[in-house]
């Protein structure tokens, strides 16, 4: 038997590392997905499961709302430039990162 070429060994090592990193990043993605989905679900009590309200609801659905628009509205509530009944009080309790997570989630959700 010939000894394995150093090139091949290096290639194998790199592949193994990449595979490992892939598995780790896949697990990380799944964790982030779960946490983000649960964070967005905190809006669903009023705005419907997955951001879809019941038919005829005056409270708007969030599913499919453009991300930039939603971030702007949430910040306008937070800063008091858009008047509201409750949203100015709710948004003041959220971090900018949470607002971003929520807006990203609903923008990617089908109406």
């Amino acid at each position: 038997m010939k000894t394995t070429s150093p090139h091949l060994l290096r290639l194998l090592a790199v592949t193994a590392l990449m595979l490992g990193a892939n598995v780790a990043s896949h697990a990380q993605d799944k964790t982030t997905q779960l946490h983000n989905r649960a964070t967005a679900a905190m809006c669903a009590n009023c705005h419907g499961t997955e951001g879809r309200t019941i038919e005829g609801s005056a409270i708007p659905s969030l599913a499919g709302m453009p991300k930039d628009y939603m971030v702007l509205q949430m910040k306008a509530f937070k800063e008091g430039t858009r008047p509201a009944t409750v949203m100015h009080q709710i948004t003041k309790g959220l971090t900018d990162a949470q607002i971003d997570t929520i807006a990203t989630y609903y923008a990617a959700t089908k109406r």
Binding site: A27, L34, M42, T49, T53, G93
Partner: protein, 428 residues
């Protein structure tokens, strides 16, 4: 292929046969020997936890929900049934979507006991179910024995609580309809904490609205064991002064110790007796009976201590307690909306734990609670509770939350839509 289908079909038939012998009711789910997640109680907390474990696991984790009632009857909005502007049908939602759409296995039964060591739940009808994770959401227990004579007076149907929405909601409405004009309706409120802080004041407002329209010589008397109105106080008191003057009277610091059903009389620890035509007595409350019996109510023997990041009991591993049963974090109300929020944080934590993923280090909870002061006008209180990893509790964010500036019709529309959306979010 054909042979495999046949085998599957006969296996399915086999389990269906077992269902028939165990439960004897086709509309009820089968009683499994084991479920990865068992949920006790199908209210705002339990139904939401069951649905969201299914959803957040992409329908990979099986859930069995144990609930004695055939339908969900909402406490929020039930005061409007008592006031006469909504019906029982308006506040009732079936459980069929939870099973049909989300695959939650619903077993209609009471839980007789929980064994946290063997990790089993035993049903009142006999069989036991093993679990990996148990969610306890049994709501509240009304402590009738803390008021002398109340247990019997309630059992006979004379002095109602109607605090657990259901048959008593309608029965209280009927008592008010039957009362002659010129009569007195008295509601008594226990010391906080109790389920739904603004609920008694909303109910008193609803009855006052009904009297104003239909029985103008009648009176509403609120006898509160607390120092003052416990929620939305200035808003309620201003509306009462402006709209129910001469109809509604608020009396703080009155703690009921006994009732005399023969003469419809309330007895207090200090003050003189009070007689009324319709008595609505709310006794002190504690965690639902099965939580107390399972030794989970480890705070003052009334409320269940939990690790707030996951809502896992401080008493037993792999048992999560949510909703009105828990020892609340500062400024956290015992409300349906809050229970729904608990259900989601808990569902996400359970899915993470059962999937070997880290639990969310920074969950948050929200609460919005609307109260109708008549059939159209509403006031709200809202709050946001962020988890504080250092102090291991939830804290309201300074500057966030608050109440309405005044009763208004727009929030009346939102309040009814809130109810419809949260019923769908919890149950459909």
């Amino acid at each position: 292929m054909k042979r495999r289908s046949f085998v599957q079909a006969s296996m399915a038939l086999g389990s269906f046969g077992a269902l028939g012998s165990m439960v004897g009711c086709a509309s009820v789910g089968r009683v499994p020997e084991k479920a990865r997640v068992v949920v006790v109680g199908g209210g705002y907390g339990g139904a939401t936890a069951a649905k969201y474990v299914r959803m957040l696991s992409n329908y990979q984790i099986d859930v069995t929900l144990i609930e004695p009632n055939g339908e969900f009857v909402s406490c929020p909005i039930s005061n409007l049934v008592i006031g006469g502007s909504k019906t029982m049908a308006d506040i009732t939602t079936p459980y069929d979507k939870l099973s049909g759409k989300h695959g939650v296995n619903i077993v209609r039964d009471y839980v007789a006991s929980v064994d946290p060591v063997k990790k089993t739940v035993t049903l009142a009808s006999g069989p036991s179910i093993r679990y990996d994770k148990l969610v306890m959401s049994p709501g509240i227990d009304l402590m009738f024995n803390t008021i002398e004579g109340l247990k019997e007076a309630n059992a006979s149907g004379q002095i109602l609580q109607a605090w657990k929405a259901g048959p008593e909601t309608l029965a209280l409405r009927k008592q008010l309809e039957a009362m002659d004009d010129g009569g007195v309706y008295a509601i008594t409120i226990p010391e906080a904490p109790y389920r739904c802080p603004p609920g008694p004041y909303e109910r008193a407002s609803q009855v006052a609205h009904y009297f104003k329209q239909h029985k103008p010589k009648s009176k509403v008397l609120i006898l509160d064991a607390n120092q003052d109105v416990t929620s939305k106080g200035p808003l309620f008191k201003k509306f009462w002064a402006d709209n129910y003057k001469g109809i509604l009277e608020y009396v703080p610091q009155h703690k009921v110790v006994a009732v005399d059903a023969k003469t419809n009389t309330l007895k207090f620890d200090v003050q003189n007796d009070v007689k009324a035509n319709v008595l609505n007595v709310l006794p002190a409350m504690r965690a639902g009976g099965i939580a107390v019996q399972s030794s989970l109510a480890n705070v003052n023997a009334r409320w269940c201590g939990v690790h707030y990041q996951t809502f896992e009991s401080t008493q037993a591993k792999d048992i999560h307690v949510i909703g009105d049963s828990i020892m609340i974090a500062p400024l956290m109300p015992k409300s349906g909306h809050m229970a729904n929020s608990h259900g989601k944080v808990t569902a996400a934590a359970i899915v993470a734990q059962l999937s070997d993923m880290p639990v969310n280090p920074a969950p948050f909870l929200s609460n919005t609670c609307y109260s109708f002061v008549n059939d159209k006008l509403v006031v709200h209180v809202a709050s946001v509770h962020q988890y504080d990893a250092k102090d291991k509790t939830y804290k309201t964010v300074p500057g966030s939350g608050g109440v309405s500036s005044a009763p208004n019709e727009l929030e009346g529309i939102y309040a009814w839509n809130w109810a419809q959306n949260i019923w769908a979010d919890s149950l459909m």
